[in-house]
Subunit: 70 residues, 2 copies
Amino acid sequence: MTTTTEYRVTGMSCGHCESAVRAEVSEIAGVTGVEVSAATGLLSVTSDAPLDDAAVLAAVDEAGYEAARG
Amino acid sequence: MTTTTEYRVTGMSCGHCESAVRAEVSEIAGVTGVEVSAATGLLSVTSDAPLDDAAVLAAVDEAGYEAARG
C-alpha cells in the first residue's frame, strides 16, 4: 500500500536546496518518491509503508533544513 | 604575480549556489583562489596571471548564474 505524507520545510531557497533535501529523504528505507519545492516549502514523501516521521525529520535536518509534519 | 579580479554575480541565493560558482571558477587554469558571497553577489578571483574575463563569465554561466566584471 502506498502512503503519501506531507511535511513543511523551512529555509530552502533554491533548486540546490531542493536537491539536498530530496537526496537525503530518498535514502530512507521504503521511500519510493519525493517531491519538494523551495517556493512553497512543501515536501511530499511517498512510501510503500507508513513513514517514520522521525526519520524524515532527521533526513531534512541532515540536509541542513528544518521540517515539521504538514 | 598575483592578480585579484572582482565580478558581480546575480541569482545566487544560498551556500549551495556559492559552492556551484566556486567549483566552476576554480577549474579555470591559473586560478589560485575564489571568494564568493550569495549575500553580496561578489565574486573575487585570485590568479597567478591576468584572468580571461570570458572564461570567468562562462564558468559562472555554467554554474547557472550571470556575472559581470565588477
